[in-house]
């Protein structure tokens, strides 16, 4: 300690830093330290641990820390990081430390019969959509609960709508141009198709549900954004004798409940790849035509638009910090702030993937964490303060990752073309 606390020692290889933290339990006395300039994050972590051990008499368990300088994680030697940020090394540098987000651990691999193209997690229920036209319901512990045939095209999107008591409702969209609303008894696993939404003229790519679980938004290759009712009661359904029933799509009984969209929002020029329903009753939709459009779900009008220069494959919006991250037809993940009035300015670019990024998903509990999966078979966990390198690479997939979800804060799931859904445990 005394050796470290050599203040005013202006050796060339030394930088004066002051350690600060926002986490009370790791607080250190506020005194500047002189440390070697070439120090790296792990050495800093050891150093802070040593300091904490000295302040805490009653033993200290080793904690991994991450260090923030100027709002960005230290991934390089400290001096290079400072140079990159253009910070004067002559004055005392404030280094914020925080407990490192623990590494997610691979927990389970759920095998499917075909590519896993859609997944959604709700509490401990996992819903996956598969390219063999089936939906699967799993528990987070890895037990397979149900296989649901019904679609006659590969599933492109699934979404839990609500889980109340013993029944759960969920929606699925598929290449067969339908959105299906399902009801499941959580005890008996009896599954019933409640509605079939027809209206899209081409395959549907994505689905999202609003915060009240009463509406669905879907987008697809017919460039339309459609809003559907998500209620499972039969009041708003128009019972139709299904003359268009197609082979292989027989759902239980002979009659099916057809539903038409409540609203159709044209505007995109190419396929809609992703929709996000915000808590303010707005819809973000991303498209292959290089735009993200913000719609007013109540009025059905276009509110604003973000123009990128690559087609968007996926967007995710954080309810905590209101920003958007996008996956595009290149290897970059871009962060947009939809609230800003300055137009389509990329706030940050996260580059580490080597192939197309196919999916991104914000954490629901951490303001700055998100996951991304790409065609390079790697699922990455990012902190928005570290644009050059992700926090963790989660390997294991042997095919292109098509979907990822972090709706349940404790697990990260990802489906890929290797026919598996991987579950990673993320400590909270």
């Amino acid at each position: 300690m005394a050796a470290l606390k050599r203040t005013l020692l202006n050796d060339e290889g030394q930088i004066q830093v002051r350690f600060v933290t926002k986490q009370e339990k790791y607080a250190l006395p506020e005194a500047p330290f002189s440390i070697p300039s070439g120090i790296k994050a792990d050495s800093l972590s050891v150093l802070v641990n040593n300091l904490l051990r000295e302040t805490h008499e009653s033993g200290w368990d080793e904690v991994d820390f991450d260090f923030l300088v100027c709002g960005e994680f230290v991934r390089l030697p400290l001096i290079e990081h400072l140079k990159l940020k253009d910070i004067n090394t002559e004055v005392t540098v404030e280094v914020e430390y925080l407990e490192r987000f623990p590494a997610p651990e691979p927990e389970d691999s759920l095998n499917h019969d075909d590519w896993v193209s859609a997944s959604h997690c709700f509490k401990d229920w996992i819903l996956t959509g598969c390219y063999d036209n089936t939906l699967h319901i799993w528990k987070t512990d890895g037990t397979h609960k149900s296989t649901i045939p019904g679609h006659c095209g590969p599933i492109k999107g699934v979404r839990w709508i609500e889980v109340t008591g013993s029944t759960a409702t969920f929606a699925s969209v598929s290449h067969d141009q339908t959105v299906m609303l399902w009801k499941m008894n959580l005890e008996t696993y009896a599954i019933e198709c409640v509605h079939i939404g027809r209206g899209h003229e081409r395959s549907i790519e994505c689905v999202d549900v609003d915060k009240n679980s009463s509406f669905l938004a879907t987008g697809g290759w017919d460039n339309m954004l459609k809003i559907w009712s998500a209620t499972s009661d039969s009041n708003s359904t128009n019972e139709i004798d299904d003359g268009e029933k197609e082979k292989g799509c027989s759902i239980g009984s002979g009659k099916s409940l057809r539903r038409t969209p409540l609203m159709t929002l044209p505007g995109h020029k190419e396929a809609i790849s992703s929709v996000v329903w915000t808590e303010n009753n707005e819809i973000f939709s991303s498209s292959w035509d290089h735009t993200i459009k913000l719609w007013d779900a109540e009025l059905g009008g276009l509110k604003s638009e973000i123009v990128g220069n690559k087609s968007f494959f996926c967007i995710s919006r954080s309810p905590l910090n209101q920003t958007l991250i996008t996956a595009s037809a290149d290897r970059h993940i871009r962060l947009y702030d939809a609230r800003s009035q300055e137009g389509s300015i990329v706030k940050a670019t996260f580059t580490s993937h080597v192939g197309w990024v196919s999916t991104v998903c914000w954490s629901t509990t951490h303001e700055r964490l998100f996951v991304s999966g790409g065609h390079d078979n790697i699922l990455k966990l990012w902190d928005s303060r570290s644009p050059k390198a992700p926090l963790y690479d989660m390997t294991g997939h042997e095919g292109k990752i098509l979907c990822a979800d972090w709706s349940n804060p404790s697990i990260i799931i990802s489906g890929a073309t290797d026919n598996t859904l991987k579950i990673f445990k993320s400590e909270v």
Partner: protein
């Protein structure tokens, strides 16, 4: 008095002149004519002395001339006498006459004779000695080497032209004896002019001694005489005399004015001619600097920018008088040297190196004059000015093309590989929306792929090699035309809009009634429209067109009702145009135009492009006539593509060339690109972006920027952007087909390695 003295002086001069030259008259005349302009003090004094009229002058001249004539004769006599005496002197008085300077004959005898004849002795004092440096020339041969007269008995000619005979010298012994005997021999010198011995006087000897001792020759001169400062150089307070200057020192002289006036009058009257001033500005020979620069004077240039003279080649070992043996010529080298006699500049050396035992043995260099001359030529012809050479690099001549970086977006990296085929993938085609594409392969399958994920959605089994697939460009019909061996299958791919699929099936279910239409015999022999059986229908086949020869290419019209099929071996029936809605076909050409490679419909107007082996013919389908014939200059066209605007077409050839034709410009290629290492298999335009691509057997595809402007005056900009590699070679085949995504700047390439790659 003044006149008398002058005239006597003049006479004296004349006498002297007489002695010197024979042409006395000329001199006199010259003096007379000089009178006018000669402003010597004699004449001015003459004028100032007597103020008389002009007649006086003329009298004077007459007097002179009269007198001169007389004196001339006298002189001649005198000269003879004088000559005689000198001769006698030299012979007789050599021994005893002590004071005999070299100029003895003149200084003593000459004047004495002339003075003897002169009537006025008082002037003797004045001219007692001759101060002139002129030598008395007894011998008139001039300043020549006297040994020229060694072989003659005489030694020259005297003033009268008579030979001066050499005095008898005797032989060496005589000379020696004379020298021994004569105590004056040390001061006896031989006068080569006269051939006589002259004994120097004491004064002469002193003179010589002084000269030899670098002293003042005149012994009597005292260089150390006290200095008398007659006129002090100091400016004195008061002048010696305070007398004001006389009036005449500042009034112009009236006498002079009269004199000048008289001369002016004489000039006016032409009596005297003023000497024409020599025009010094005009030089007799005008030289000018041949290499003078126009902008700057040569002097300045030489200082600022000197150009050294070319250096002569330094002699090497071969020039040595004793060159090492390797420099001396062998037999063969000598032969070669001789052989190059006609072209000496090609010789190794301009001479044959020879060895000599010593430098003394080296003969005169026979090429010396020649080499000096050449060297002079070198100097004479060497450049005097540095020429500013325009350094034009070949790159500067290439037009400025925009950088590829500024032309984004264009495909750069391979993003996805579609694997699944087991044979060469010959052909690919996308659906109108860009969600799917179909590929046809040698493994006798057609596969429909989802672009976003790389998923193979459907596989159609066909019996035969798939040569060409083409997705119907009309989005309201879900149909793919596939050329498989002799058949063209129309297949409903079963992807995309279900409603459209159902509608397509409905249309194709029933063969339209052909009641009033009789299939022409010519068409019937070539082709039959066949309905599929149930199994085929279920697997997607809707219509089969069976041709009589193998079909290599199918192409849709943009409306989706017409399509064409090409049978290269079909001779004059190689091109067929089919109408889907009425199930009719027609053979548009009656004559064979060569091996037809492919046909394409114009995207907007009723034109048909037919690519034969060497040409691309453009037919107007409405007028049914040939509109244009494009000369590719290629041996074998492999593929063509039409720009979505319709005015530009791309032609890929097996001889590695990619030709861009602007139909508005000419029938010759607007630009030909040769970037591929091997033959080009396929070319494609992008529908939206200004991009085009070519795929080749060298396993690469090249993406280029090809901007077509609406402005008719602006030619298309063509910039090669990127060479996309990745395909593996298989059986000498590389890339078979290239295809752009309809909306994104993405490129698909199908290769012989059974893969399809997507570059983004």
């Amino acid at each position: 008095m003044a006149t008398a003295s002058k005239s006597s002086k003049r006479r004296l001069e004349i006498v002297e002149n007489n002695e010197n030259s024979a042409e006395v008259d000329d001199i006199i005349e010259a003096q007379v004519s000089d009178n006018a302009d000669d402003s010597t003090d004699e004449e001015s004094s003459e004028y100032s002395g007597l103020e008389d009229d002009e007649e006086d002058d003329s009298d004077d001249e007459e007097d002179n001339s009269d007198w001169e004539e007389g004196s001339d004769e006298d002189e001649e006599e005198g000269d003879e006498v004088h000559n005689m005496s000198t001769n006698e002197d030299s012979e007789d008085d050599t021994a005893d006459d002590k004071v005999v300077p070299t100029a003895v004959p003149i200084t003593q005898d000459g004047p004495s004779t002339s003075t003897a004849q002169l009537p006025a002795p008082p002037v003797e004092d004045e001219y007692a000695y001759d101060s002139s440096d002129e030598e008395d020339l007894r011998n008139t041969v001039g300043n020549i080497p006297m040994n020229w007269y060694d072989d003659y008995p005489h030694i020259g000619y005297d003033l009268e032209g008579k030979a001066i005979l050499k005095p008898k010298r005797g032989d060496e012994i005589d000379n020696f004896l004379r020298k021994m005997e004569n105590p004056e021999s040390w001061r006896t010198v031989y006068d080569p002019q006269t051939g006589q011995d002259v004994i120097l006087s004491n004064e002469d000897v002193d003179l010589i001694k002084n000269v030899m001792g670098s002293r003042i020759p005149d012994g009597s001169y005292n260089p150390y005489e006290p200095w008398v400062d007659w006129f002090t150089n100091e400016v004195m307070e008061t002048p010696v005399t305070g007398r004001p200057e006389h009036k005449r020192s500042f009034i112009p002289s009236r006498v002079e004015a009269i004199k000048v006036g008289r001369m002016v009058h004489a000039i006016k009257m032409g009596w005297i001619k003023p000497r024409v001033a020599k025009d010094t500005s005009v030089e007799r020979h005008k030289y000018y600097l041949l290499w003078n620069a126009d902008d700057k004077s040569e002097d300045v240039r030489r200082i600022e920018n000197p150009i050294p003279a070319p250096k002569p080649r330094l002699p090497g070992h071969a020039e040595s008088y004793n060159p090492p043996p390797e420099y001396t010529f062998s037999e063969r080298e000598i032969n070669q040297w001789n052989r190059l006699a006609e072209t000496p500049y090609q010789r190794k050396f301009p001479f044959i190196p020879k060895r000599f035992s010593s430098l003394r043995a080296v003969p005169a260099y026979d090429r010396f004059a020649r080499e000096r001359f050449v060297r002079c030529l070198d100097l004479y012809l060497c450049p005097r000015a540095k020429k500013m050479r325009l350094t034009i690099q070949p790159e500067d001549l290439v037009p400025q093309l925009p950088k590829p970086r500024d032309l984004q977006p264009f495909p750069t990296v391979c993003s996805m590989i579609f694997k699944g085929h087991k044979g060469l993938v010959r052909t690919i085609s996308h659906d109108p929306s860009g969600q799917f594409f179909i590929s046809g392969s040698d493994d006798q399958t057609l596969k429909v792929w989802e672009i976003a994920t790389g998923r193979c959605f459907k596989t159609f089994e066909v019996k035969g090699t798939v040569r060409c697939v083409s997705w119907c460009p009309n989005a309201s019909i879900a149909l793919v035309a596939a050329a498989v061996d002799n058949n063209v299958y129309l297949i409903n791919p079963g992807v995309g809009d279900r409603l459209v699929q159902a509608k397509t099936d409905e249309i194709l279910k029933e063969m339209p009634a052909q009641t009033d239409y009789l299939i022409p015999q010519r068409v019937r022999a070539v082709l039959t429209w066949n309905e599929p059986d149930k199994a085929q229908w279920d697997s997607g086949f809707r219509v089969t067109l069976t041709h009589f020869k193998a079909v290599k290419h199918v192409a849709w019209h943009s409306k989706g009702d017409y399509f064409s099929s090409v049978m290269p071996e079909g001779d004059n029936r190689s091109v067929l145009i089919h109408q889907l809605s009425r199930r009719r076909s027609q053979l548009p050409f009656s004559k064979s135009k060569g091996l037809v490679q492919c046909t394409l419909f114009h995207p907007l107007r009723p034109y048909l492009f037919v690519a034969t082996q060497r040409h691309v013919r453009v037919y107007n389908l409405l007028k049914q006539e040939l509109t244009k014939k494009l000369m590719t200059g290629a041996k074998w066209i492999s593929s063509i593509a039409v720009h979505p605007g319709g005015d530009n077409i791309l032609v890929g050839t097996h001889d590695r060339r990619l030709c861009w034709f602007d139909l508005d410009l000419s029938t010759k290629p607007y630009q030909a690109l040769r970037h591929h290492g091997q033959g080009i298999r396929a070319v494609a335009y992008h529908k939206r972006y200004p991009l085009f691509a070519s795929g080749s057997d060298d396993c690469s595809a090249i993406v280029s920027h090809g901007m077509v402007y609406n402005d008719l005056l602006k030619n298309p900009t063509i910039v090669p952007l990127k060479k996309l590699r990745g395909h593996a070679k298989f059986d000498d085949f590389g890339v078979f087909d290239v295809l752009f995504h309809p909306t994104q700047p993405w490129l698909f390439t199908s290769g012989a390695d059974a893969t399809i790659r997507l570059y983004t």
